[in-house]
């Protein structure tokens, strides 16, 4: 079966402590740990680019599974902080990994919904074009666009990258996808020079849109909560993950929260948790949901083979 064969990731070693910002932003430990849910956020070296993070994620992938690079025929990078405006970062990754000249490469410009869109896109594109071995990268180094005096964003975001290997002999396959956009509110999360986020508007959007969106996807597939082993939600903040979970009325054990030590990694947040959850043999059916910049959202049901 064609689908997700393996997932690997890379997180920079450098971590910024939010405890060191308590005085600057008038924070207490409860706010850091139970509201934001980010104790430390990862930060890449200044000279590193998104493509460098992707290459390091790939190095971790080949430590997990043997891959013949000459057989890779599709490479997609999900990012909104590319190495350059021109060319696409996937071409740079292609060059650094010395992939075949018969390999298709393109970028997808999406934020926190990007992994779900990317997963659907790479599988559809590869199946339509009879491609066999694909790499779906996520890398969105927000450290390049953060305003360090903005409490709304300076505490949240971490750098990182993931790579999902798409091939036959899959471990998990997507069963169904669902997507949505509210472009009228694009200004609520915007980067001209530095990142701006209207925290209240983004919270209201996620709390009012995402639980119903996930519920409809389950109903469309004749599923109920009892059929789902895990809900892997984009790790926007602990407060957002908790709010969606409560509105979905699902057990806390089914909704992993894993960003304490690296932060909100945008499109990498879902695959970072998938990498962990794929090790748990009891996970047969997983819902993934990404939401954010756009405003854009997407969910999928993925099943163990």
């Amino acid at each position: 079966m064609f689908g997700i064969r393996e997932v690997a990731s890379y997180l920079p070693e450098k971590k910024i402590s939010n405890y060191d910002k308590k005085d600057k932003f008038e924070l207490d430990d409860d706010f850091i740990e139970n509201k934001i849910g980010v104790k430390f956020h990862t930060q890449k070296d200044e000279h590193e680019k998104a493509s460098d993070l992707c290459v390091k994620a790939f190095e971790n992938l080949i430590n997990k599974i043997p891959i013949d690079k000459s057989n890779i025929d599709c490479c997609i990078v999900v990012t909104q902080n590319p190495d350059y405006n021109i060319p696409h970062t996937s071409a740079i990754v292609h060059g650094k990994l010395e992939l075949s000249q018969t390999c298709a490469c393109f970028d997808i410009s999406l934020g926190c919904s990007g992994y779900v869109y990317g997963l659907s896109s790479i599988i559809s594109f590869m199946q339509s074009n009879n491609l066999k071995n694909g790499l779906l990268f996520t890398a969105d180094p927000y450290s390049e666009i953060i305003d360090h005096d903005d409490k709304n964003t300076d505490l949240l975001f971490g750098d990182g990258a993931t790579v999902t290997f798409i091939a036959n002999d899959a471990l998990f396959i997507p069963k169904d996808f669902s997507f949505g956009t509210n472009g009228k509110d694009y200004k609520e999360l915007l980067c001209k020079d530095k990142l701006y986020m209207n925290g209240r508007a983004v919270f209201n959007f996620t709390a009012t849109t995402i639980p119903g969106h996930i519920q409809k996807l389950l109903e469309k597939n004749g599923l109920t909560d009892s059929d789902i082993d895990k809900y892997i939600l984009h790790q926007g903040s602990k407060y957002i993950v908790d709010t969606i979970r409560k509105r979905l009325k699902v057990n806390e054990e089914k909704v992993p929260f894993c960003m304490y030590n690296y932060g909100n990694t945008i499109s990498s947040s879902i695959p970072l948790i998938l990498e962990e959850e794929f090790q748990n043999q009891e996970n047969k059916k997983i819902v993934i949901a990404g939401f954010g910049v756009g405003l854009s959202w997407g969910s999928a049901i993925i099943e163990k083979i």
Partner: protein, 78 residues
Amino acid sequence: MKATIENVKEVIAEADVLGDVDQMKNDTPLSEQGIDSLDAVNVYLLLEEKFEVKIPDEDLSQVQTIAGIVEYINNQLA
């Protein structure tokens, strides 16, 4: 539905804020009674949903206390 001190306190409790909502003072800002900025955003959303009103950002200064919330919502509903 008209807003009262009691049903506004029910909404605040629904937001899972720290502390005993019944002990909260009606004329003291929520921010001085253990409700941080994220809790407040959730409380405002729950109020909007329960009373079917909109509380735009520019009106937030009017809904800083429980008494202020009751007055603001009832003015919106009038």
